[in-house]
């Protein structure tokens, strides 16, 4: 089981307290979007092998969404950061 640091609670808590929220920093397609842009926003994902920016929610804790960089090969978290903050530079 992973230990995840919630950037709001400022604590490392077990994975079962959290919900995964998929790829981070997706920008909602505008109302003027073409079918292709809308499809891309709804369904297509990077699904990266390596350092992946993703959303998590501290569902059984403070309840807030935050973002994380995690290596999808080792599953190790690089860093977690608050929603709205820019993606940190990663190694």
């Amino acid at each position: 089981m992973l230990l995840i640091r919630c950037p709001y609670c400022e604590m490392e808590r077990p994975e079962v307290e959290f919900k995964y929220g998929g790829q981070a920093h997706l920008v909602r397609a505008p109302e003027t979007a073409t079918d292709e842009e809308w499809t891309d926003f709804l369904y297509f994902r990077d699904n990266l092998k390596g350092v992946h920016a993703e959303r998590w929610r501290h569902a059984s804790g403070c309840g807030r969404f935050f973002n994380a960089l995690r290596n999808t090969v080792s599953d190790k978290f690089v860093v977690t950061y608050k929603a709205g903050e820019a993606r940190p530079s990663s190694p």
Binding site: M1, L2, E15, V16, K19, Y20, G22, D35, E36, T39, D40, L42, Y43, F44, R45, D46, N47, L48, K49, H52, E54, R70, T72, V73, S74, D75
Partner: protein, 416 residues
């Protein structure tokens, strides 16, 4: 060499010392007509049917690891076709129709055993969903019936149907024609059949890049064994499909998750069928060696780690012990993970792509093994002719734009 009673007897008399290699492990030539990326069951079946039914034999199947070492060697070997929608019934039904004759077709024993698949309902929602599946399947000519808890216990005597347990059995959908097959033998049998028809199977050959010509069409691949050119490439890379497609500049509607399985120490025969439970993420059957083969759930986050979190396997085993109390003191021998590529609608993708000459067969998610013969058969047609046949057509990439999704979340058997 053809397997027969005479060849088995002759080899037995010689102490089994003269069995030849069943397929050639080739080194790459500079160019092929078709490159298939991924030597799992689906990729090998594709090569086999292209050679057999479409006369295309100048094919290389490239594999970064060893043959059948990905999800083909990691799944729980269940074969069934009790999906909800007509498009799914067509493709899984097509695969299911090929299973009974596969050992004869390949002259290789894939140990197909249609022992029946029970899908348990633990709550009203499960019951309504499975009853709907039963009716839909019967309209499509696929055997499926609703059993009471007592009838389910008649099929599987070790099942606990006590109404007081945490996840009581309210009934079950039973596909009597479902069952299991030997996963390794399926890969080996298709490899043998393809190799005999001239297909080169190249292991330890990782694709590093997909090269394109001036028009944008594929021209070949860069690999760990050097460049190989081809005008057609079929990507059958399961959990790593997004990684390979990114080499051609394409994103995919896929997310890759670890899916776990376990086997127990061997027992005498105790389980005459396959039992699956969506609600508690557990399914179980007994292998011919006597081990109980147990499927667990997926991790919640995308990962390429091929392991999975221990708490996922623990929650599955808790459910297994409740459903089958005789397993409570059983030791587990092995636990592993495979990386499954899941689509938003839990249906596969068999499709042309925006890149000319590049085809993709992926998105089988948590349940691709059962489809191996049908998937290879229709994908061979797609790559050979450039157009999907009627069975493959609904599973195009374009369905995510048109909205004609094939939602099989309830039939996929592993909740996500």
């Amino acid at each position: 060499m053809k397997f027969s009673l005479a060849s088995l007897a002759a080899q037995a008399l010689r102490g089994h010392k003269d069995w030849p290699e069943q397929w050639r492990s080739a080194e790459p030539k500079p160019a092929y007509d078709v490159i298939i990326i991924g030597a799992g069951g689906h990729g090998l079946a594709t090569a086999y049917y292209m050679a057999k039914e479409h006369g295309v034999t100048n094919i290389a199947v490239l594999e970064k690891g060893w043959l059948g070492g990905g999800n083909t060697g990691r799944n729980t070997t269940i074969v069934r076709s009790n999906y909800l929608w007509p498009a799914s019934e067509a493709i899984y039904g097509h695969a299911h129709a090929l299973w009974p004759g596969l050992s004869q077709e390949l002259n290789y024993n894939v140990m197909y055993s249609p022992r029946g698949v029970l899908m348990l309902a633990h709550n009203l929602h499960d019951e309504q969903t499975f009853r709907r599946h039963v009716y839909a399947n019967r309209l499509a000519g696929i055997p499926n019936e609703w059993l009471t808890p007592e009838e389910a216990k008649d099929v599987c005597p070790i099942l606990n149907i006590d109404p007081g347990i945490r996840y009581p059995v309210r009934g079950a959908a039973f596909q009597s024609t479902g069952g299991t097959a030997r996963h390794d033998a399926v890969a080996w049998g298709y490899a043998r059949g393809a190799s005999a028809r001239g297909v080169d199977i190249i292991q330890n050959c990782e694709v590093k890049a997909i090269t394109r010509d001036a028009s944008g069409a594929v021209s070949g691949v860069e690999t760990s064994k050097g460049p190989i050119s081809a005008r057609k490439i079929g990507v059958v890379a399961a959990g790593h499909t997004s990684v390979v497609m990114a080499m051609a500049g394409l994103r995919m509607p896929l997310e890759s998750y670890p899916l776990q399985a376990l086997v127990s120490e061997p027992l005498k025969p105790v389980m005459p069928c396959v039992v699956m439970s969506n609600a508690v993420h557990a399914y179980m059957s007994q292998s011919d060696k006597g081990e109980l083969v147990i499927g667990a759930g997926t991790d919640a986050y995308i990962s390429y780690s091929q392991t999975g979190g221990p708490h996922i396997a623990v929650s599955t085993l808790e459910a297994i012990v409740e459903m089958f109390p005789i397993t409570s003191r059983l030791k587990m021998l092995r636990n592993w993970g495979g990386i499954v590529d899941t689509t938003p609608d839990r249906s596969p993708i068999l499709s042309k792509t925006p890149v000319p000459g590049l085809f993709v067969n992926c998105g089988w998610g948590t349940g691709g093994f059962k489809a191996t013969p049908g998937s290879g058969h229709v994908f061979a047609h797609l790559v050979a002719t450039g157009e999907p046949n009627a069975i493959a057509a609904p599973f195009s990439l374009d369905r995510f734009r048109t909205g004609a999704l094939v939602n099989e979340a309830a039939a996929a058997a592993v909740a996500h």
